[in-house]
Symmetry: D2
Subunit: 382 residues, 4 copies
Amino acid sequence: MTVDADTAGGDAAVDGDAAELTDTDASTETNPAASTESHSASVVGGTGFTGGELLRILSGHPSFDVVQATSRSADNMTVGRSHPNLRGLDLRFSDPADLESVDVLFAATPHGVSMERIDEFLAAADTVVDLSADFRLPDADAYDEWYDGHASPEYLDRAEYALPELNRENLPGADLIAAGGCNATATILGVKPLVDEGILAPDTGEVVVDVKVGSSEGGAGGGAASSHPERSGVVRPYAPTGHRHEAEIEAYLGLSVSFTVHAVDMVRGASATCHVFPDAPVSKGDLWGAYRGAYADEPFMRIVSGGGGVYRYPEPKAVAGSNHGEVGFELDPGNRRVVVFSAIDNMTKGSAGQAVHAANVALGLPETAGLEFDGLHPVGAP
Amino acid sequence: MTVDADTAGGDAAVDGDAAELTDTDASTETNPAASTESHSASVVGGTGFTGGELLRILSGHPSFDVVQATSRSADNMTVGRSHPNLRGLDLRFSDPADLESVDVLFAATPHGVSMERIDEFLAAADTVVDLSADFRLPDADAYDEWYDGHASPEYLDRAEYALPELNRENLPGADLIAAGGCNATATILGVKPLVDEGILAPDTGEVVVDVKVGSSEGGAGGGAASSHPERSGVVRPYAPTGHRHEAEIEAYLGLSVSFTVHAVDMVRGASATCHVFPDAPVSKGDLWGAYRGAYADEPFMRIVSGGGGVYRYPEPKAVAGSNHGEVGFELDPGNRRVVVFSAIDNMTKGSAGQAVHAANVALGLPETAGLEFDGLHPVGAP
Amino acid sequence: MTVDADTAGGDAAVDGDAAELTDTDASTETNPAASTESHSASVVGGTGFTGGELLRILSGHPSFDVVQATSRSADNMTVGRSHPNLRGLDLRFSDPADLESVDVLFAATPHGVSMERIDEFLAAADTVVDLSADFRLPDADAYDEWYDGHASPEYLDRAEYALPELNRENLPGADLIAAGGCNATATILGVKPLVDEGILAPDTGEVVVDVKVGSSEGGAGGGAASSHPERSGVVRPYAPTGHRHEAEIEAYLGLSVSFTVHAVDMVRGASATCHVFPDAPVSKGDLWGAYRGAYADEPFMRIVSGGGGVYRYPEPKAVAGSNHGEVGFELDPGNRRVVVFSAIDNMTKGSAGQAVHAANVALGLPETAGLEFDGLHPVGAP
Amino acid sequence: MTVDADTAGGDAAVDGDAAELTDTDASTETNPAASTESHSASVVGGTGFTGGELLRILSGHPSFDVVQATSRSADNMTVGRSHPNLRGLDLRFSDPADLESVDVLFAATPHGVSMERIDEFLAAADTVVDLSADFRLPDADAYDEWYDGHASPEYLDRAEYALPELNRENLPGADLIAAGGCNATATILGVKPLVDEGILAPDTGEVVVDVKVGSSEGGAGGGAASSHPERSGVVRPYAPTGHRHEAEIEAYLGLSVSFTVHAVDMVRGASATCHVFPDAPVSKGDLWGAYRGAYADEPFMRIVSGGGGVYRYPEPKAVAGSNHGEVGFELDPGNRRVVVFSAIDNMTKGSAGQAVHAANVALGLPETAGLEFDGLHPVGAP
């Protein structure tokens, strides 16, 4: 955890422009016996954006060996044709019908595919990490309410939610892991410390979450609304209410949130601004305590709250391309409000990076393996 | 008013993709005896962004003749050197110390200048329209609380708030008019119909306003945080709490709002998403009734709420360069929430356009005079 | 014409930061008997980008009355559904098979449609202005070489090229007018003065034209390459060689040019940088003389070449949304090179604005009628 | 080298969508005895953009240990305050007057500083790698002509140009290394194979180089022209003629080029389009031969020329954040022209990455050490 703060709460002292640096290699210490042997891996659905992100991360991962990437549309073409950053990768897409046996299969298919093919996936791999929504929710009722039901509800109990900051203890040895939704991930990371500390209770009152996301969230498909002339420069309410990630937040935080998602002009990134109204007065020290308590030992979490310079609060730009999550907060005593900011790269921490992080934990690898890239500065609209 | 809707509430019937077109020239009818004689005008502070926007609008206005634009930094240089769109304008900046006598003086100076020079301005012009914050708030106490006090509090009673949708009846004949803040304007336009209809009362509960704005709001000054490498692609919490526009919203709507402002990647535009929680259940029909009641006769307001196509809700892009405001809403019954979206061009409806609109009303001119430009499609990040 | 210059060549004297303002209403003077009666107009192909731009311009034009806009895909829907800036326009798309009789028909259909329907168009209207490539080239051979032949070659002689700066004398009374291609227009406007003055001859040597264009040039269709994630932030060689506009430049300037087009991150705009190598030495005074000679009486042309401030040379941003063209130049004596910069809005001066300008000339209307909008400052990536 | 091609020239056979993958770890093979011991390093001028990029690369480099980063303006502040991607780095800026002794000193100071402090730098370090222009040109006359002379001309002979693709053989053991200019690097990489193969001779005729660059090239300083409202969406001729990098290209390629640089809307990236006119006819096979001959063994170079998909030619987006360079070409037989495209990240291959690459060679480390990051897909305007 890194702290970049104007004021450190509690009894800790952090100086002016402020960084207390601890435990950036916590994960290594946490896994003293971490294996460095190589694991074979495949990516099902490799032409999509999250598939490409998986291939980028796994091809640079010291303990994974990518033996297969599948694509229906680009069968036999090089991976670099779809993902120009991977032009140097010696790999061609193969038919998704012919799955090779691997240690870990990562599924980056559209929602609905994994629930149909899960038996096949589990037959091909010891561990399946699914990036779709198909195994994120804990029970079939939720799929009936928010999606079009579930084709394989018997696996829902078996699936583990991937986010290590929430569910680390259940990941080792898991054979079916479901990466969280990007907007849900940003929100959960932002609000969870308040719930854990009891600052926010299920019946506390309104929790408004106003999310801003980049265009990669819409996937590689295209369409008029995502064409460059129409999509550039927007502040577009694309999910005014009823976004499916509400279900995920409720399931894992026990909180009902009022959720609204806007498309803004960036490609990567999700930023959740959470407006919460605690029942009891809360001080900055309380907040620092809660966030430090939650994230002090987390290798990918940073608390960024005030301080000097240009980047005083969490920003998607500051974590673009990396698996880091930034959270920060501000107190609005006049309105008894706490404003929490949470920023991630939707493709990385919000999807493929989270998946690899969870796989690292599941296999007993160092948590940060393959996820060391820290992002760029300056960077435009990444 | 224009309506673009998925479902028309109440007893009105609006067809599918939906536009009921009424009263776009309401203002002309409202002012049957509107004068078309020419008024002399000056712009004090002409090199800034709002000063340039005033010059753009006034130079195309059929009833204004710009006789002076002042600038300390660009004295004697052409207006087109600062504002390349106005390279064709035969006007040079002059010294702000030498004000010419005009019918209307528009002050586009930084906050704090007008309150010092107000006697001078009023001596030079029959009507003064101030675009700064100096005369927006109704009493000196508010300036003590939110700003650094006020140098000329005796004028606060005399000043009229410019926004015609809020204060039209007091503008005719006014000699000191204060244009609203852009974020406050977006919020007031969005929430006012709910207040007027009693859907929202001062003690209703939390009103969360999450605003996204473009870089022109920071002015022409520059600085590291607004440099292109640092400012591109951001979702940056720049006023997490305590934004001064809260004061303005409270003063004119009687509502305390929880206000947070983010910088996003566009140049022009302000979008306010207002999350409100009415005490009593409210239907879509109630909402349509409220917004139609408020804006049916307004020449610059559009209700955009659902419907088909790419632009289903208010978006800054859709009004960029124009004096239009778009408002829309969505119901979130599960959370007893109404989400209201409001989008304006911060430079136009949120500042210079509002100022000219108010001057039109004050002088008995057609309300839309000089403000007919409808914006562009497609347009990038305007 | 407006001049914004560091040094004025020849015997003219222009002061430091520089604007000699003349003849901005030249067109009005040129047409002393210009009619102000209303002409009925239709737009065939109204959902596309240039169709929308035509509707925007024509709906604000004092002498045109839009009686029909056609669309196959959006039949019976409001124009504002496709073009959100026109939500206030009381007009619905109708079936392109049922053309109303009008004074002027503007065809904004894809290449190949007009050549098939030209008899029908001419039967429906006294004047047809075509925005496609179908009637731009002067002979059928060129269509065989650069396109897929021509279905109605007998009309090629009859068609007049729309660009008034090149072909004004042949427009009055023309009944078939073909708007130029946007990249060709930018290039022709930039290089023509050098050809007219004999600085550049057909056998002078290499003329390299390196063009940068916005995404609106690709049309409203979408597709993977124009999706926001793939198209944002590009410098993409999309027509490395053999762009069809080469044919147009050769046809109207008599010059063979080496033409390359790049897609860059803006929506509107085309910028042509023309690198030319005159046989004989040329001075800045010669260049000023050539450009002034060409554009001194042109209502939409500006010479922007050096001078102070941020905008020292032509830039698409500076003319976005307007019908202005900016040209400028710089001398590179060490390489015997002249670099010419030319910037237009591809949607306006490069298409719909040029079309209306030509129609104004054809009908004897004031040239600038309906085209007075000067653009915005600041503006992002318009 | 990676090849992504539509047609492979000469006698080589490359399949349709095309990637022949060879030698991506050439550098490792080239340095069989490469040392993996740790070298101490310092960065002088650490708050600037290239200083931050050096810190990013060096902090992830397996063989460097950053012991000092200096800054006058941010003395004692954390590195993460200036560079938010490095918030996790436990390092504070120190006073540039107190240089620690290190193995390698990287100077990222403004032009003119290194030539004044070079004795001091060489006293503090065994190897100095300078990222400014101070030691790029081979003789003092060039500094008199293109810059304001040189304060330490006696070191010019000693300095080695950093670009390994041009000067690898002279780097091992060098103690003063000068990283090339970003625009010169892009151009040299693009044109050098044609010079080496004799396709282009010093007297061949015009070579026009039209460069497009991102805003990071202007540095962290800010100023009106680089403010977000003015800089967004531009195609701005910022060095129409006489750019200093011309001198560098002439010095190292022996070619006089006609050079023009445009600012476009991205943060990172430089794209050089080189229009060349060989004396003798040249075939695609000749070109493939030339480029393969030059780059077949280069670990960071890719040939991208045609092929399918969205990314058919070099693009800055495709290499953003990485040390890769992409080159490609197209033949324009009608104009006897070859168009060469070259794309790099100006911050990485065009500056800090090139510097580390050269240091790797100088010290006998694996060439790709610390430079393995491949970039992102999708990515916006990086």
